[in-house]
């Protein structure tokens, strides 16, 4: 198939960016979206133009490194990561716009590459259980009811890609944060730090410049791991409880 791509080019963090049009031809429907960009980059390289910078690593939908805004949708038209999107989701003659995640808390580094270290700092603020190596009790000493274990797993499936932020009109990181709060809050091991965790993470989230949640739900719709919106309810509930308890 033949396509017209409109791609955000930006030379560096301070540079002014612009959309640039690139026609591509003979694209196979079996290619992944990123392989299609690989093909374009090879062509650019051959004619002496610098290839387009974009992030990807595992290319099997689990590392969370890739993430593009494709014709206005985070990760494109399917519920999956950009690397797992295939060209059979498009038709001959399509015009596709490709942009980086847009959020104050995710500044552009170059072209389609953004800085998501704000997510790491939210985890540093409390997204963990303090258990030094070697201090752990026997694994079977604390049974975990299966429904709680399953819900913890569901929330822990978050890959930290940032699609939720990119999709949100407020650029909120509440789904990402809610997933971690839910994962650790469902487990008995997560209880001792539960109140402190939510207060500290929310404070860091706001400090990073993420917006608040206004229950739009675009985050959950865009999430490649289908993290449900109710993790944000859990977050709010935990926060309210923690503040009432004077945390």
């Amino acid at each position: 198939m033949n396509l017209t791509l409109k791609i955000w080019r930006q030379a560096g963090p301070q540079a002014k960016g612009e959309m640039v049009t690139y026609p591509v031809s003979d694209i196979s429907e079996d290619m992944s979206f990123l392989e299609m960009l690989d093909v374009l980059n090879e062509q650019l390289n051959a004619r002496g133009e610098e290839p387009i910078a974009f992030d990807s690593d595992c290319r099997e939908g689990i590392c969370g490194m890739c993430g593009l805004m494709i014709s206005g949708k985070a990760h494109g038209p399917e519920v999956t990561t950009t690397c797992q999107l295939h060209m059979r989701s498009f038709s001959d003659g399509d015009e596709i716009t490709i942009e980086p995640w847009r959020a104050d808390a995710f500044p552009v580094i170059k072209d389609l590459v953004v800085d998501r270290s704000s997510f790491d700092r939210i985890i540093q603020a409390g997204g963990f259980i303090s258990a030094n190596t070697g201090s752990a009790p026997e694994a079977h000493s604390v049974p975990v009811p299966k429904p709680k274990a399953d819900r913890a797993f569901m929330a822990a499936a978050c890959i930290g890609c940032g699609a939720c932020v990119a999709a949100c009109p407020n650029a909120s990181g509440m789904l990402f944060m809610g997933a971690k709060i839910t994962h650790l809050g469902e487990l008995p091991q997560g209880q001792p730090e539960r109140d402190a965790r939510v207060v500290s993470m929310v404070s860091q989230h706001d400090h990073e410049g993420f917006g608040g949640c206004t229950n739009v739900g675009a985050c959950s719709s865009a999430c490649p791991k289908e993290i449900p919106l109710d993790v944000i309810n859990q977050l709010n509930k935990d926060l309210r409880g923690a503040l009432m308890r004077g945390e």
Binding site: C58, E60, I62, A125, S130, G134, A139, A156, G160
Partner: protein, 676 residues
């Protein structure tokens, strides 16, 4: 938990009559140096060795720890766990990864599970049995002391991960569930659906970020190590490039740990991440660290086949699919283009069930892979043609769907079948899936002693980056076990014996060793940018991958390997004359990053071929056409090759030097594997 099973000692075989000199020596491809040996593992009963080593290893006073700096390269299970643990202990840790966050390391992609000798199923498992299975699975080419220790600490890993909140699968009573895996006869694999690696890595990542917040670990994301600093014979730091600004930075320390993963991407197409590379370990090799058993690579049988020239990576599907799927190809090459549903039962060849009636579709990975290659070489492969051959075999769930119902199949394998459909556009509930083997894991790596210290003092290597635990073939669910064993429990206990000698005298940036390392990195970056030839980095990488896959892949022969060495030398020469890397050194430049990695793969590839050439036996994942039984099975030569091949860098224009470490089996008897 310790097992008191008595050890059986191997009677040494009568020495075989000397064969003619090894072909590598004849062809001048390598020379042989002094033998080497591990000097750190204590002697005595195998179950007492690790405790003895932990006791004998010197301690570092808590107040002195913050004066000691440790650099750790890589943030996967081995590196992330070590950084977190050393940070908790109070050392001053600097952690590096090339990704934008430590959470993205490729350990994250492991699917199936992690082994541990908990014996929760009371099915006869024990530390000794896990040790035994791992040694046998590795085709008797691993070191007994190391493997026993791995089995010994496996149970602690599960405790640690549960305490961190890793959401393992549980039963209705709230206790942990196990499944069986990879052909062993006990259920010892802990799992979190098909995302075990992700969950374990997030556990290690969170522990790491906790230490970043505590100030014990300084994190350097989007940084790539390009050189190791060796001063006065000791590893004292690294030279790294900030991938965002392009700045070349010097980081000095008292010890350096490489936990930078495997080198499967030398084949271009593999199940590794796009950025997985050999640069950290290869640069260390060039500075004096021996590279052990580079030819031991694992080819995984159940991957989605190559779809075309554009392919950038291969995707694995868990081998658990072989529990219920049946593997076949048409009996007649003429049927290969037909719709598989129209090929009648009598015209199908369920070749694994035919050749291995007792193990059937569940033979080990190396055997399943090689037989798939054989039937495709015969012209009976299915799917699109790649070159002159169709490279695919059917993995058919039709019988399982009849036996179990579609719902039951979906419950068990739904996420894998969905992934298959997303990638291929075919519905596996209606049409048999197509699979083909792909490069998955590398058992070889930098040589280390029992303390995980390489042949450069102060340079430690953990996880897939070292060679130590899997011999010539790794069993399923053992990579996660090794990564976390090394990171949480082994390295933090052994490195203190070295650090107790520190802090070492402060190294100035003006030190000759630092200046030399920086200058060589600068020169290489400038060289890559200045060639401005005609060919892209990817085109060289693909060509190298094709050579490696063709001649150093699932089957190797003397003739093919010699040809490959010639081809690689020619390609490397062309690379340094004709590669085209655009952009500049002082910004994010992904072409430049790739170019440096491919340059190192071009050197590693030759060493892999030399190693494969010199090892004139078949063992585990290394299959030499010249060394097979009458039935076409791998044939080891324990009399000649029961050793680790540790290669010393011979200089830019010199030949590598082979050092042999004899493998002595005191507790497990060496046998020929049979799965018929």
């Amino acid at each position: 938990m310790t097992d008191t099973q008595t050890a059986s000692t191997v009677a040494p075989e009568a020495p075989a009559p000397a064969r003619e000199a090894a072909p590598g020596v004849v062809h001048g491809l390598y020379t042989e140096g002094e033998p080497i040996a591990d000097t750190k593992a204590p002697k005595g009963p195998i179950e007492a060795r690790w405790n003895k080593r932990k006791f004998d290893a010197a301690l570092v006073n808590p107040a002195n720890r913050r004066k000691l700096t440790v650099i750790i390269v890589g943030t996967g299970l081995a590196g992330g766990a070590a950084a977190a643990t050393l940070g908790e202990a109070g050392y001053n840790v600097k952690s590096f990864c090339y990704q934008d966050s430590p959470r993205r390391a490729h350990s994250i992609a492991a699917q199936g599970g992690i082994n541990a000798a908990k014996n929760y199923k009371e099915d006869g498992d024990s530390t000794f049995r896990l040790f035994y299975d791992t040694v046998k699975g590795g085709d008797y080419r691993s070191r007994e002391s190391n493997v026993y220790r791995l089995a010994e600490v496996s149970a602690n890993i599960i405790d640690q991960c549960v305490a961190q909140g890793v959401p393992f699968a549980r039963e209705y009573g709230g206790l942990l569930d196990n499944r069986s895996f990879g052909g062993v006869q006990v259920s010892r694999t802990f799992y979190a659906r098909g995302q075990t690696g992700q969950q374990l890595l997030i556990g290690a990542y969170q522990a790491l970020e906790r230490q970043v917040a505590a100030g014990t670990v300084e994190m350097f994301s989007r940084h790539e190590m390009l050189e190791v600093v060796v001063a006065d014979g000791k590893a004292r730091g690294i030279i790294a490039r900030d991938l965002v600004t392009g700045e070349i930075e010097t980081h000095l320390a008292d010890a350096v740990v490489l936990a930078s993963g495997g080198y499967g991407n030398v084949f271009f197409l593999s199940t590794n991440a796009m950025g997985s590379n050999v640069t950290a370990t290869w640069r260390a090799h060039r500075k004096g660290a021996h590279f052990a058993n580079p030819c031991y690579t694992q080819i995984h049988p159940t991957c989605i086949p190559v779809a075309g020239e554009h392919q950038s990576k291969l995707t694995l599907m868990s081998e658990s699919l072989r529990n219920d799927g049946r593997i076949w190809v048409p009996k007649n090459a003429a049927d290969c283009e037909k719709d598989p549903r129209e090929i009648p039962e009598e015209d199908r060849d369920y070749y694994l069930e035919r050749i291995y009636p007792s193990f059937g579709n569940l033979v080990p990975r190396d055997i399943a892979s090689r037989q798939a290659k054989n039937v495709c070489d015969e012209g009976r492969g299915v799917g699109p043609k790649v070159g002159d051959f169709r490279r695919g075999v059917y993995l058919d769930f039709t019988d399982a769907l009849k036996r179990m119902s579609a719902e039951a199949v979906a419950e068990k394998y739904g996420n894998l079948l969905d992934m298959y459909q997303r990638i291929t556009g075919e519905n596996p509930y209606e049409v048999p899936m197509r699979i083909y083997p792909a490069v998955h894991y590398t058992m070889g790596g930098l040589w280390v002693d029992y303390d995980l210290q390489s042949s450069i003092p102060g340079l430690f290597v953990s996880g897939e980056a070292n060679f130590s635990d899997h011999g010539a073939n790794r069993l399923g669910a053992s990579a996660l076990m090794q990564g976390l064993a090394d990171g949480y429990f082994v390295l933090p206990n052994t490195i203190r014996d070295y650090l107790a000698k520190g802090p070492f005298p402060k190294l100035e940036e003006s030190n000759e060793a630092v200046v030399e390392a920086r200058a060589s990195v600068d020169a290489r970056v400038q060289k890559l940018l200045s060639i401005n030839g005609d060919r892209s980095v990817d085109s060289f990488h693909k060509e190298l991958g094709n050579i490696m896959w063709e001649y150093c892949g699932m089957e190797r022969s003397e003739e093919g390997l010699l040809k490959a060495i010639d081809l690689i030398r020619g390609l490397r020469d062309e690379f340094w004359r004709n590669v085209k890397v655009l952009g500049s050194a002082d910004t994010l430049n992904q072409s430049l990053e790739k170019a440096g990695r491919v340059a190192d793969f071009l050197e590693l590839g030759e060493l892999m071929c030399i190693d494969a050439l010199h090892r004139r036996e078949s063992c585990g994942g290394h299959f030499r056409a010249e060394s097979q039984t009458e039935d076409g099975e791998a044939l080891r030569h324990d009399d000649e090759y029961a050793y680790v091949a540790a290669w010393e860098w011979g200089g830019q224009d010199g030949a590598p030097i082979l050092h042999k470490e004899d493998l002595v089996y005191e507790f497990v008897e060496m046998k020929q594997r049979s799965y018929k």
